[in-house]
Symmetry: C2
Subunit: 313 residues, 2 copies
């Protein structure tokens, strides 16, 4: 039984960026998150694919030790996202969304897994997120949820029902403002905490993340890469690394959360360095370790010996 | 003789934000930077004001121990900037710029000061920046320059002449891309280093700063305030705190630079918490110390005990 279960989309994406283009490429929120988390804990994925889904997708999950018994095979086509990015890689422009087999997806969680330590409700219809959470016989000790503007606009009631029962919400900056009706992120975090999640993680693309806990705020930058080739999946890889690491730790704390944020940021930096999931595939411990060391050097500074010594007069 | 000399504008600003409005308020690049730096070292300001400039401006500088003998009095009116911000406080919308006495400003530096440890060429016409730098009998050991899109667009040759002789350039994100012709900030930094400055500080408003040195990158967030009331002067206050602190240290190093960046960010957070220079006035050591402690908690995380232990398999 995997320690971490991830529910979300498994997709075939068509992506164009200033650096190239891929068609019918492996993707989806659960797929990215699962690969990323696989470096830190044992993962099972719940999702659905269609008749056009290539065996390569399963092979890749298998090679990373991801349990994919929870991926159903539909008789329709696989969910597909078509989008492009201009030089401002922070903004995805959706050209087309073909829901296909997602429309009739009704995950039967207990059929495959009946418990887990951690549940990640990756970006998908909040009705599906709720059903999975609701049908688990025992509530996992950590429940994390991701969502997007589309669900805030079109299924707010359903989304709020999910939020009332989770621990951590990851969401992007504009969506945090949309969901809370507050412009100041400090105010937005307070408002969203009232909806349920004790911890809010605000994703800011190339600017990193801001994490609002009960009594503390943590800021972590994105890794400044020479070139971001394809930002698709950055948020899912971030969440996968974060949640995978947290699941691997015996006790949850603000410290473990902060370490997880840095690990998630490192995993996201691998993801965006190449198209589709290529940047996330087959990473070595050494590569991950080096990236984490770079992250540490990116934000550390010597303690400030001031206040009496430093300030004048 | 002050250790740090700042050349730049002294202004009377008209500012409107969603949180209020001020008219003929104290401002200007040298004024903000001078107040901010005054908490860390002894400062002298070079600039010009007109007949309409209130005594209050000089009183405020005096109260902060800033030497203002370098501020000339013109028979014209004071330079004035009129601008507004919407809820996206990252972008200033200029409504009017009255150069007034700035047009004939020809600073006679050696008349007042003939040497300094550090020179800060705050945002002003690059011709003026160059003249000041060129007429100092001895080159200061640290020369920092700030500029803006207007000079990149209209006086690029003159600006490049300045850049070829400075140590550190502070510039905002869009301007770094404009000046270098590169979208990736890593590439932009490399390109700008070729123009002269060994260190590039990219200001990203509410997202903080990215600092590119010869062999290292440092990222520092902006302090997440409940409310930013008026972002005017944030960059100047940041630079003032940074440069003031660096000037107070006997030896320059990457460590001192990083500490200075955090101090500058703290000073900027005071600046934007109120209109005009109010947030920067009369701060106590305790207030500054508390803000620096909050900054430290904002970015610190426990070392990662992983790579063998943490990663799977």
């Amino acid at each position: 039984m995997p320690s971490l279960i991830i529910v979300g989309t498994v997709a075939l994406d068509n992506i164009r960026t200033p650096f190239g283009e891929v068609r019918m490429a492996l993707g989806g929120s659960a797929f990215y998150a699962g690969l990323s988390a696989s470096y830190w804990t044992d993962v099972g994925i719940m999702g659905v694919v269609g008749t056009d889904y290539p065996e390569e997708g399963f092979r890749l999950l298998g090679a990373h030790g991801v349990d994919y018994r929870g991926i159903e095979r539909s008789t329709e086509k696989t969910f597909s996202w078509t989008g492009e990015y201009t030089f401002d890689l922070n903004t995805a422009h959706t050209l087309k969304t073909d829901l296909n087999c997602l429309l009739s997806f009704n995950p039967d969680l207990p059929r495959v897994y009946d418990r887990c330590d951690t549940l990640f409700l990756a970006n998908i219809d909040p009705d599906i997120q709720f059903r999975v959470l609701d049908t688990l016989p025992v509530r996992p000790s950590l429940v994390v949820c991701d969502t997007m503007n589309f669900w805030i606009e079109n299924k707010l009631t359903e989304l709020k029902r999910v939020l009332s029962r989770i621990d951590i919400l990851t969401i992007n900056e504009g969506e945090a403002r949309m969901l809370s009706g507050q412009y100041s992120l400090v105010h937005a975090a307070r408002e969203i905490a009232r909806m349920g999640p004790k911890t809010l993680i605000v994703k800011r693309g190339e600017y990193g993340v801001l994490v609002f806990g009960k009594d503390s705020i943590f800021a972590s930058p994105a890794y400044p890469l020479e070139e971001v080739k394809d930002p698709t999946g950055a948020g899912d890889s971030f969440a996968g690394g974060l949640i995978g690491y947290m699941t691997s730790q015996r006790k949850q704390s603000d410290e473990v959360l902060r370490q997880g944020i840095v690990i998630g940021s490192a995993m996201a930096s691998f993801c965006v360095s190449d198209f589709s999931t290529r940047g996330l595939e087959g990473l070595t411990k050494k590569e991950i370790g080096n990236r984490l060391a770079s992250f540490s050097s990116l934000t550390s500074y010597p303690g400030l010996p001031l206040l009496d010594a430093g300030t004048k007069g």
